[in-house]
């Protein structure tokens, strides 16, 4: 029996969709139970499985016997605005979730780069955007999840409560592990009320001048919702851009605007709501124009060094998509590079205690390099052992990284 026929027999005709570009059969389960059935079978048959969301972030090119798409695992399972918690299935598009929540006067303060992404992709890849400054990453919004391990066991952690100290935090382990620890089928997310005022301020100029301006903003004590220094390519501008986003009550936003403007020492242009929304959307969507994206972490005070390193090894002409989260000390770069270049920069960055995560890349690059690597001490061995605890046969086609 072919794999496609096997899937049809397991979960019916509706559970099988068109194959991928190279003819790999694609299963489209509609429930956790169907996912578990498929994974148990895959595990027993030693199939390799590629998890797929909307196909708009990670290239759908990992070799596999079977594609497991979350496209039918959609919709809000539970939303009670009084609790400020939403439970949503992983195949739901992030933009659709945002719209549904806005209708209830709520939002998840997270603006993941890319466009047309699924909730599962955002969580599995832990791609926080500029709002990380004010609200943290996905780990700070994620209250729990349902995770299916490679052999189809259902692991449920966290819940619909905003505080939870029961058991080990598998939720955080799985978020940002690129699906290596299992298939996320639904998540509980913390919500906030949509802020009454939302303001974006923009300055243009020299990179170092803007970085210094951003640091001066932080010294004022205010923590804006976003404080991002953006390359000309990313900001669709002739110069580097400092973009500041402030949210809150009208009085608080006005006070913060004045304090930030004074502290930065820069001329900050105030964007209207439409222009601001367009600016952020275009900036974040532009990240996937290039094939490879990496994230480099450092200290706020070492950002110049990190940017110089990227310029030296990856972006000699300063033409790539770069966005710098000044408070978090994170540089995100998107461009073209081969595995050798990326390995080199990961090694050099590691010597400076700067971890480099390969967020997306074509399969030949990410399979050679892994999403993570250049670990210190024996952390690589721990990660590898954890990975094997969840997926002993390597069922999921995810190049998490080697043990080095």
């Amino acid at each position: 029996m072919t794999i496609a026929a096997r899937i049809r027999a397991l979960i019916g005709d509706d559970g099988l969709a068109e194959p991928d570009a190279v003819g790999t059969p694609r299963a489209v389960p509609a429930s956790d139970a169907e996912c578990a059935l498929i994974l148990r079978t895959a595990h027993a048959q030693r199939w390799r499985v590629r998890i797929e969301g909307c196909g708009s972030w990670m290239p759908p090119d990992a070799p596999a016997h079977l594609v497991l798409s979350t496209r039918r695992l959609t919709g809000i399972v539970d939303l009670n605005p009084a609790d400020m918690v939403v439970t949503v299935r992983a195949g739901t598009k992030w933009d659709e979730l945002r719209t549904l929540l806005a209708n209830e006067g709520t939002w998840v303060p997270l603006d993941p780069p890319g466009a047309g992404r699924s909730v599962g992709s955002v969580v599995a890849c832990a791609t926080a955007g500029p709002l990380r400054t004010g609200f943290g990453t996905i780990r700070d919004q994620l209250l729990g999840q349902t995770l299916l391990t490679a052999d189809g066991r259902v692991v449920q952690t966290g819940g619909r409560v905003v505080k939870n100290a029961a058991g080990y935090d598998i939720t955080k382990l799985a978020a940002g592990s690129f699906g290596a620890f299992g298939l996320i089928t639904s998540v509980h997310l913390r919500l906030r009320a949509v802020p009454r005022a939302d303001l974006t301020l923009v300055a243009r100029g020299d990179r170092d001048e803007l970085l210094n301006g951003a640091r001066a903003v932080l010294e004022s004590g205010f923590i804006p919702a976003a404080l991002e220094v953006i390359s000309p390519r990313a900001g669709q501008a002739d110069h580097w851009v400092l973009a500041v986003r402030v949210v809150g009550s009208d009085v608080a936003v006005a006070a913060e605007r004045d304090a930030i403007t004074a502290a930065s020492g820069l001329t900050l242009e105030r964007y209207g709501a439409t222009r601001a929304a367009g600016f952020w959307q275009e900036t974040l969507a532009g990240i996937t124009a290039a094939p490879t994206t990496l994230r480099l972490g450092t200290l706020t005070s070492s950002l110049d060094d990190a940017l110089d390193t990227i310029a030296h090894y990856l972006d000699g002409n300063c033409e790539d998509w770069i966005s710098v989260n000044v408070l978090a000390g994170v540089v995100r770069w998107s461009g073209s590079a081969d595995a050798g270049q990326l390995r080199l920069i990961r090694g050099i960055a590691a010597q400076r205690e700067m971890p480099v995560t390969l967020e997306r890349a074509p399969w030949p690059v990410r399979s050679e390099l892994g999403h993570f690597g250049a670990y210190r001490d024996s952390v690589g061995r721990i990660v590898h052992s954890l990975w094997k605890a969840f997926d002993p046969q390597g069922t999921f086609s995810v190049p998490l990284g080697d043990q080095s």
Binding site: R139, V161, D169, I170, A255, L299, G329, F372, F390
Partner: protein, 467 residues
């Protein structure tokens, strides 16, 4: 129970004066902040530096002796108790603040640093360490990491796991590893997030890098009193729904008010109130915080508050907080034993769950005091009692179990900030499937293959299903 060869080696590793084997001395380590759980360790060793910690763990690993890490012993889950076949590794001599990096808003501390001391040290830089457990003047950062501790101000600022950037960890085999990175960016999967709250079952944190947060320049504390507990709980939901994110939203019920007001910690709370709601609003701008306080005050009035006191100066604010902060101390004075629960429920279920808890108390003829983090839905129903009274302990245990089942039935969980320890072990199968518990056990064995670190805590072994 501990082999003499091992004791000799431990004495040599830390110096004989820092190895405790005398039963009278060990009695001081027989319980933590939860007096209902008692267990005397076989020995207690008190290393003075990281290298001594590593030496101790290697000796214990060599002899395959179980061990339990302990900070100040203020935990509320019986998590830092060791059996007679185990060694307690006490970390209260590792008290150095290794670095305060004001530019990058971070600090590196040893595990024995007392929580409040870090904020005091950061204050000259205009910074503080935000997680503030009620025991912050005594509890240690290492203990906070182990339990993923919270506190009143975690509603706005988050719990411990939101503030730990990196960890240096001594594994149970005495190996040292660095988790995370100094700026907080994950280095691989989120092992820092996994370690925080693992209750000492993965190893010991020997250095902790934490985020420091700017001290707010403007603060308003509001005390609203309500005729009924339900009305206070409903006011919490309406404040959050209106988009306010107070730094703290705390409730004390009538029983708790009565106990506090009858104690030396009396704060002037109205003793005829059904509940008081303590609200703190903060920010960097005086005008903005004052404006928010006015709006919240109006919201409270429309929600049925009988009176609202507003304080902005530190002395008056401190006075309003005093009763809340000292509530556990006041409770400890009325009975020799205390059961402290820590369940969390969805915020909207608070009014109903509180009524059910009241009914459980009446049914079992027990006085239950509620003092809790209402904004987080994190309940602390406390039962103070005299365990020497025949039958009373059993009644308390039955009532506690009913409260826990009520919270779980409301969509809640068993602990929000105190951890599972040994106290809540029996409830774990109520909130996790056997497969989930089995996966947790496999994770534990990655760090600790022989399960030497804090054995018998967090995971009920008989409920873990593994392939």
């Amino acid at each position: 129970m501990i082999p003499s060869q091992a004791l000799d080696a431990l004495a040599a590793a830390v110096g004989p004066e820092w190895l405790k084997t005398d039963q009278a001395e060990l009695a001081t380590f027989a319980s933590d902040g939860l007096p209902t759980h008692v267990s005397r360790p076989g020995a207690a060793v008190i290393p003075g530096c990281r290298d001594e910690v590593l030496r101790v763990l290697r000796i214990l690993h060599h002899f395959q002796i179980p061990f339990v890490a302990r900070g100040a012993g203020t935990g509320l889950s019986g998590g830092a108790l060791a059996r007679s076949d185990s060694v307690l590794v006490v970390l209260t001599r590792l008290t150095r603040i290794l670095e305060i990096d004001a530019t990058n808003r971070r600090a590196v501390v040893e595990p024995g640093v007392v929580n409040a001391r870090l904020s005091t040290a950061a204050e000259p830089f205009g910074l503080h360490y935000a997680p503030d457990p009620s025991s912050q003047s005594a509890c240690t950062i290492g203990g906070n990491v182990a339990e993923n501790a919270g506190g009143p101000h975690c509603l706005k600022y988050g719990v411990t796991s939101n503030h730990v950037l990196a960890l240096e960890v001594a594994l149970p085999n005495g190996e040292l590893v660095q988790l995370g990175s100094s700026g907080g960016e994950s280095w691989g999967p989120d092992l820092v997030g996994l370690f925080v709250g693992s209750e000492g079952t993965f190893g010991l944190a020997t250095a902790i890098t934490v985020r420091l947060t700017p001290i707010p320049k403007a603060v308003r504390t509001l005390l609203a009193d309500f005729a009924a507990l339900r009305a206070a709980a409903e006011a919490v939901t309406s404040i959050i729904a209106e988009g306010f994110v107070p730094a703290a939203l705390e409730i004390m019920d009538a029983n708790c008010i009565a106990i506090v007001e009858a104690s030396v910690y009396a704060a002037g709370y109205p003793t005829d109130a059904g509940a008081v709601l303590l609200i703190e609003l903060d920010g960097m701008d005086e005008g903005a915080v004052a404006s928010e306080a006015n709006e919240v005050e109006a919201l409270l009035a429309s929600g049925g508050a009988r009176n609202v006191l507003v304080a902005s100066d530190p002395e008056r604010r401190e006075r309003l907080w005093q009763g809340r902060k000292k509530a556990f101390g006041a409770l400890g004075r009325i009975g020799s034993d205390l059961v402290v629960q820590d369940a969390v429920v969805p915020r909207s279920r608070l009014p109903d769950v509180l009524e059910q808890i009241g009914a459980i108390g009446k049914r079992h003829r027990l006085s239950i005091c509620n003092v809790f983090h209402a904004g987080d839905g994190n309940l602390h129903p406390n039962i103070s009692f005299d365990g020497s009274q025949p039958g009373l302990s059993d009644r308390v245990q039955r009532a506690s179990a009913e409260i826990m089942h009520t919270c779980i039935a409301a969509g809640g969980t068993i602990t929000g900030e105190h951890g599972v320890g040994s106290d809540k072990l029996r409830y774990m199968p109520l909130v996790f499937t056997a497969d989930t518990l089995g996966m947790m056990r496999r994770i534990r064995r990655v760090f600790d293959p022989h399960e030497l670190a804090n054995p018998g805590k967090v995971l009920p072994a008989h409920s873990c299903r593994e392939p």
